[in-house]
Each structure stands twice: as C-alpha cells, then as structure tokens.
C-alpha cells in the first residue's frame, strides 16, 4: 500500500486545513441555532415562500428552520456540505490522476514494478479514505455540538444525512478521478465534474417547477441524496447504494481505460 499512504501523506497539510475548517464551520453554525430556535416569526416568513424555494433551502417535507432537523438541513445538507465534499473530492481526484501525469511525475512511478491498475486503485482508495475521514469528523462534530445547542437529533439522522451528501461528493469525485485517469486531461476532468455538479444542482432545484421536465430532477445526485429526508429518517439504503454505485463505476471505468492507454510525458 505504498502508493496509498504516499498519496494520503502528500495531502497531509491540506487535509488538516479541511478538517479544521469543517469542524469549525459545523460547530459555529450549530452553536448559532439557539438564536433562531422557536422564533416563529422567522419560520412564518419561510412558510410564505413558494414550495420549491423551501425545497432548495432544504425545508421540504414540512421541516421548519426553527427546528433542529430543518435548521441542519437548510444550513448544511442541502447546500454547504455536499458542495464541500464535491470540491474536496473533485480536486483531490484530479490531482492524483491528471495533474500527476501532466507534471510528468507519473512517468517514473509507472516504470516501477507495480501493476498500473494497482497504482490507480491505491490512489482512488487514498482519495476515498481522505473524504471518509472528513465525513467521519463531520458526523462526530454534529454529534458533539448539537446537544449543547439544544438540538435533539438522533445519531442515525446525523449519520444518514452526512453519509448521503458525502456520496454526492463521491459521485462527482469519482467522475473527476475517472476522467483524469482515462484521459490525463486536467481541464476535461475538472471542467466536466464541476460543470455537471453545478448543472445537476440547478436541475434538482428548478426542474420540479416546470411540469414538462420535472422528472429531470431524478437525474440529479442531489435528488437521491436528499430524497426520503435522511435528516429525519436516517440513511436511505437504496439511494445511498445508487450514488455509491455511480461513483465506483466512474472510477472503475477510468482505471480500466488507464491500464490500456499511453502515459503522456
């Protein structure tokens, strides 16, 4: 597992920064909850918003921003947290594939006695491990910070909601890794993955507004991550497996292609 550990260690500082930032963001936002809790006026304003706006804000299914589940969903799970996981996993996924190749550093390593698939698999696992570490830290921070803020949210709900949006990151991170491994093109991998992330986020938010394309929301990973309201009912196994399956498929296809192509100088 030489490549796995080396890949993780190469992002040691970045990972530390991400971890501290994530913990700080969650802790501070959760700590702000008491100032909004039970402010019915605030809740009434949002109730007047059109339904789709409430949905985009993470306040569908009758959730209220002045209650713990609604507050967490609107502050983290419907926007900030999936976005952070996407940014982290996409940039790491591109870095270990296309950037490594463009910098020319892949050349020497690929000439060492390690099968190409193994080289790629170890890198993919390292990216996944780093993301998982962040997800675990996020869950732990929620678990520790919510009770003092007067929130009563079950572990299953916090775990389920975090895992679901982490898997959105896995889908786009997997796509970025797969494209980077398959083509060696940094621009293509980064552009496609982040472009699709934005497009599917918009599709998830806006498609339901227009009857003709309302079913398009089902093409969006965001839909599958938030469907079934994991923040209320815990992880939705089928949806989670669907997202994980897409992420793994992108990675596998990329590695399959990587083992069969020329490595650029």
């Amino acid at each position: 597992m030489t490549v796995f550990w080396r890949t993780l260690r190469s992002r040691k500082k970045s990972l530390l920064g991400w971890a501290l930032g994530l913990i700080g963001l969650i802790a501070i936002t959760v700590a702000a909850y008491p100032s909004i809790a039970n402010q019915d006026g605030f809740s009434d304003i949002i109730d007047d918003y059109p339904e789709f706006v409430q949905e985009i804000l993470g306040l569908g299914s009758g959730m209220s921003i002045t209650e713990p589940a609604g507050y967490l969903n609107s502050q983290f799970f419907s926007n900030m947290l999936p976005l952070l996981f996407i940014i982290f996993l996409v940039s790491f996924g591109v870095r270990v594939t296309a950037t490594d190749e463009r910098d020319g550093t892949l050349d020497l390593v690929a000439a060492h006695p390690l099968p190409r698939w193994r080289l790629a698999v170890e890198k993919a696992l390292a990216v996944l491990a780093a993301g998982t570490l962040l997800a675990i830290l996020a869950i732990l921070t929620f678990v520790v910070s919510t009770p003092p803020a007067g929130m009563d949210v079950s572990f299953a709900a916090l775990f389920g909601a975090t895992v679901s949006v982490f898997l959105v990151g896995v889908v786009f991170g997997g796509l970025a890794f797969g494209l980077g491994a398959a083509t060696g093109s940094r621009g293509l991998a980064l552009g496609t993955a982040s472009g699709l992330a934005v497009a599917t986020y918009i599709a998830w938010g806006l498609a339901p507004l227009i009857d003709a394309i309302s079913s398009l929301e089902r093409l969006s990973p965001f839909f599958w991550a938030l469907a079934g309201d994991p923040i209320l009912h815990g992880v939705q196994a089928g949806n989670a497996l669907l997202l994980l399956g897409f992420g793994l498929a992108f990675v596998s296809l990329g590695i399959w292609r990587f083992t069969r192509r020329d490595i650029a100088v």
Partner: protein, 298 residues
Amino acid sequence: MTHAITLNSLTKSYGKARGIIELDLEVKVGEVFGFLGPNGAGKTTTIRTILDLIRPTSGTVKVLGLDAQTESLAIRTRTGYLPGELSLYEDMTVSEHLEYLTALRSGAGEGRIAELSEQFELDLSRKIKDLSAGNKQKVGIVQAFAHGPELLILDEPTGGLDPLMQQHVYHLIDAAREEGRTVFLSSHVLPEVERIAERVGIIRNGRLIEVATVDELKDRAVRVVEVRFGEDAPTEQQLMAVTNVVSVERRRTTLQIRIEGSMDALVKALAGYEVVAMRSEEADLEEVFLGLYREEDE
C-alpha cells in the same frame, strides 16, 4: 536468452508528426548500447515503449526475453530507468523520494542509497523543490542504479550534470558493464557515446539509419593525412586515383589528403615517393554522424 532488448518492426504513430517507424534492433546482454540522434528523433518514444509506458502501434518489443506488454511487471522489476525529462515530487525530501521509489520495489536497493548519494554529493535532507536541475538528475541516477538492475535504460543520463559528475556517471556505467549488466542509453552528444558505448544505433526522423560498433564507425570516418614530400612527389591526379582518397590539396611541398576508410592503398602508393614527414588526424566520429545525417537529407 541472448538479447537484452529486441525490437521487431516497432512502429509508434502519433497522427502525422512524431513517432518511430519499423525499428528493428537487438541489444546484446552485457553490452553498453548508445542510442544516438537529435532531439525529437524518436529516442524517448522507443525507450518508453520498452518500459510499456506507451504501447506500440505495431511490431513487438522483447526485453530480457519477456514480452514488453504482457510481462512488463517482471521487466520493470529487473530494469532501472532514468527518464529523459525527469520529474520528481517537489514536496518530498530527497531521502523521502528515494525511499518511496525503493518501497515500490519492495525495498530493493535501499542499502545502496546512502553510498550512491555520497558519491554524487547529494544532500538527502533537502527538498526536491530546492534542488538544481543537476541535483535532481542525480536523484534520478541514484534511483536507477540503486537496486542493481540487469538492464539500465538511461534517457540522456548526463543532461544537466557538470563534467565531474558526468565522469561519475560514466564510471557507474563502466562498473555496471563489468558486472555483466546491460546498458541502453540515449544521447544526442556524440563524444559521450563514443566514450562509454560499444555499439551505437543512430535514429533520425523515427527511423533507425545505422547500427554499428563505435570502431566500425570510426573506420568509416574521413581522416586527414598530411604528407610532406622531398624531390620526388606524386601529382594530385595520381593520388586521387588511389583507393578511398576523397580529395587532395597542395600546399607548397605538403599534400593534404582526405581519405575515407582504410589507409592501406594510400600508404602503399606513397611508398614509391620520397616522404619527408607525415601526420594523420584522428578520425572524428562527429564527422561520420553529420555525414549520415546529410545522406538522409539528400
């Protein structure tokens, strides 16, 4: 197994421009083979095909008797490689980097890193990003030689090194040969190949235009022979008729004769005249090299 590397009709096409065309080449076990050609001729492409970093369009590559594609892992275990454009991980220290590469070989060569680094005056504690190009090249050389591979594939090994360090590399290559290892090195610098290789292959525009020993090439070289005659001297026309003589130029009593290949006929022809003094210039491989290139141009 008689050959370290066998290229059979090896072709690699990149659209229209670069690439290599139907290379046939055999590198013997235990020899130092110089792969010579100008930049962009296809040297690096050939080398990267041998290591399965790129796949041939057609033709086959055998290395140490193994198929370069299906048995690449075994080949890479037994091979040391120095890339032509060496890129290292900038954020690592020299020792971290060398340890990483050694770990990819299950630790083979670990024991020699300290010794080789000392020989090349390489500071193990420095970050790669703080190293000069020459020092980075030294890291590349250390990692290629450390595990004592049967086959060394060195793409422009002395690039960026000062003359003293170049000598160190030549000594390493000499030592490798004495230990029975095979060295396949590319270069665009002729004296380097002349100094360390026994045989050379010359590549140009993707085609192998010559494979010969260094001595054979030298034999084919143009030499300049200056002869000062006494009373009895031949005419220019008489000398031009002698086998292998290319040109004759008179400077008062001295004749400057350019001759290609064996001097035997000339020496025998001169024996009939009064030769006061004679001087022959060492054949210059550069001339042969340039000559081969000119021929191709025509």
